[in-house]
Point group: C2
Chain length 425, copies 2
């Protein structure tokens, strides 16, 4: 008997028909003798419907502009998953499987108070363990928790993955299965490169980079959780028939691993990730003195805006240029913070921004011990006539920021250049 956490995305929960199928799949695992905790997302479209209602009442900018408004948006959006868990519990009960549902606040899943992008601080497993011991399937809302003041919080888009892995970590589950609308992790997005191949395993570090770089299979914070607590996590398809043999299902998809094996050492580059959700911002003519990075990025971080790539150029005449990227949704807000707060405080000349960019990255543990990987990337892009605007590197990835119109071209060229369309030896 194993303790297994299942996570189902919005498409898998998209109709009562689909929910019944999820219940049948869960029931199959229960009948094989396993203890099951299930973390579903809201029915597809529901979160957008709810936030759409909010937008009809409040102009777009105002929605995210105050903590009070974000608190209400969270309470509102959280109802989507609350509907899902109730329906799934009823569907399981209808299959004769005892089941009980909880909202994040009931578990409780405690978070900080950063509304719309809260972080999980702790999960109390008492209630869940008691229900499991009593033979029940426990169904917990994804995407949400409760802060220390008793307010409902949400973890941000895709937060249900994080909820599932965090619950699996808290329960020391044997495996966390993320059922989604793709059947695993690919060398790159098959919609861009038809030759993309599914990886049967991917290392935690590679997965982390892939997720952070826009590979939409798993939300990055769920991968961080999986790594931090070493939660064996598998991404697999929820579109296989629910009654395929359990052992076949249990081996499908892509397993995220924590040990490097030989096979992984052989592949220099595991995959190509890309992302056009970012915008580039440059602060021009910044007086080059100690503490300037903090003076620029402090106010941005205070506004709860995540910063991705950061580049500071060498200075000329005591002045330098400072560039970074943020999520495109935060672009206008970031520009406002910079113009209203940072420019007057630093004496920088001006701020310029560009939302029409994309980031393309090559990711692979093998890069650690192989020289020349980055230069192959730069040569490939150069041969395609693509200008590189920013470069960042880490031990296992190299990313470039380019004009978004070249994104598909760059991804296809790199996929080919690193032989990712060839089956690994």
């Amino acid at each position: 008997m194993a303790l297994i956490v299942h996570k189902y995305g919005g498409t898998s929960m998209g109709s009562t028909e689909r929910i019944r199928s999820v219940a049948q799949r869960v029931a199959k695992w229960v009948r094989a003798g396993h203890q099951l905790v299930v973390v579903p997302s809201a029915m597809s479209g529901e979160t957008n419907r709810l936030l759409g209602l909010a937008k009809e009442l409040v102009p777009d900018a105002a929605v995210a502009s105050t903590d009070e408004a974000r608190r209400e948006l969270d309470a509102l959006a959280a109802t989507g998953e609350q509907v899902s868990v109730g329906l799934l519990a009823l569907a399981l009960q209808a299959q004769g499987v005892p089941a009980v549902s909880y909202g994040g606040w009931q578990v409780p899943i405690k978070t900080d108070s950063a509304f719309t992008k809260a972080r999980i601080e702790s999960i109390d497993d008492t209630r869940v363990r008691a229900d499991l011991a009593a033979g029940k399937v426990v169904i917990i809302t994804g995407f949400q928790g409760i802060d220390s003041q008793g307010n409902v919080t949400t973890l941000g888009r895709g937060g249900s993955d994080t909820s599932a892995v965090a619950v699996a970590a808290a329960l020391k589950a044997d495996e966390c299965l993320i059922y989604t609308d793709v059947d695993g992790v690919y060398t790159t997005d098959p919609r861009v490169v038809p030759e993309a191949r599914r990886l049967s395993t991917v290392s935690f570090e590679e997965m982390l980079e892939m997720a952070s770089l826009g590979s939409k299979v798993l939300q990055i914070r769920s991968v961080e959780f999986a790594g931090k607590y070493r939660v064996p996590t598998r991404v697999l398809s929820s579109f296989t028939p629910w009654d395929i043999p359990l052992d076949e299902e249990a081996r499908s998809g892509t397993l995220i691993t924590f040990e490097e094996d030989e096979k992984m050492e052989q592949a220099v580059v595991a995959g190509i990730a890309f992302n056009r959700d970012e915008a580039k911002i440059s602060v021009i003519g910044v007086p080059d003195k100690p503490g300037i990075a903090y003076q620029i990025l402090g106010p941005v971080a205070d506004a709860n805006i995540d910063i991705d790539v950061i580049i500071q150029n060498v200075s000329h005449d005591g002045r330098t240029d400072f560039s970074f990227t943020v999520h495109r949704n935060d672009y206008a807000r970031t520009m406002a913070v910079l113009e209203n707060t940072v420019l007057p405080a630093t004496g920088a000349a001006r701020v310029i921004g560009d939302a029409k960019i994309c980031k393309v990255s090559i990711v692979g543990i093998g890069m650690r011990s192989h020289v020349g990987v980055a230069s192959t990337m730069f040569r490939t892009l150069s041969e395609e006539g693509i200008n590189i605007q920013m470069i960042t590197t880490s031990e296992i990835k190299t990313s470039v920021v380019i004009d978004e119109k070249y994104m598909e071209l760059a991804v296809r060229a790199l996929h080919k250049a690193f032989d990712l369309d060839q089956p690994s030896a």
Copy 2:
């Protein structure tokens, strides 16, 4: 400055356009210097949509058959009001009025654990008072609370009225305004009797009878609460323009009073109530011995089924017939309880039922001191050729159960017989 509780029904919250109008109305009260607590229902159609999803997953009978299922139905249905409060808070904030929303569990509004028909046990006013003192409008979900185990419960259909009055009682509010789709309490339903008149005041006892007898203006438990805690409660229209002068709005509708005034003494009958939501059940050939009423009704009450009219006929040959009415939704379940449990236990001959009945009642505090009111009722019905199946009386009402096909005829004849179409002197 007064502390006012507003309650808005589902139609008033039926679209973002309507919600904006509610926010404007509430803002008007705030700007006049009042402290406001608002208790909205779910957007119209939402509760049915949610329960409709549940019914797609679980056959109708099974839905209400276990406590586990009812628990999930409550968690599911409760999301409807959670959406409303979030949207209304955002709409108020957009008007520049500070506002905060709470689910029943956050206040908390504590209830017992009778899922789908829970009763409020206590309301903690600490958090609400602190917010009011800080100048915020507090918006609280109607219809729901939390039990001692931390489960979400709902109060049953129409429960938002009860929530509003209970919140007003807990806060010792100056007045509880129930905004609804009618502009007050009428002598009877104007759809049945076009000559029906609006009452500017109605006594608490009359309102209690009117509500319990099917006048849909207020849920009966809200009236009980209003009476128990002497909450001045006014029923008024949410369809007046939001910007009508506040003093005009404050005097509109029908006020429920707790002192009898002269005017009320003059009116013998305040109104005619009717109800076709009930079904009649008779247990035939019951051995007539002490404790038999309990033996019959105990198992029904244990199944959490409310019983209304109860009649036990005089016995013949040591056997009697025992009749009562239940809500039509509980009809099949009650019949099952009687046939499976009560018949074998009591040795009664058989159970017969009839769902095609209605109950028509005359209600009025004046009846206390006026003889012959009941006989006028019976004569009127007799002149219309309507057979009376059951009769019950109290100090301020007389009710008859008749074939439902005669309902409109009976109501119109009684409305005329008691001169309710004439303006009171």
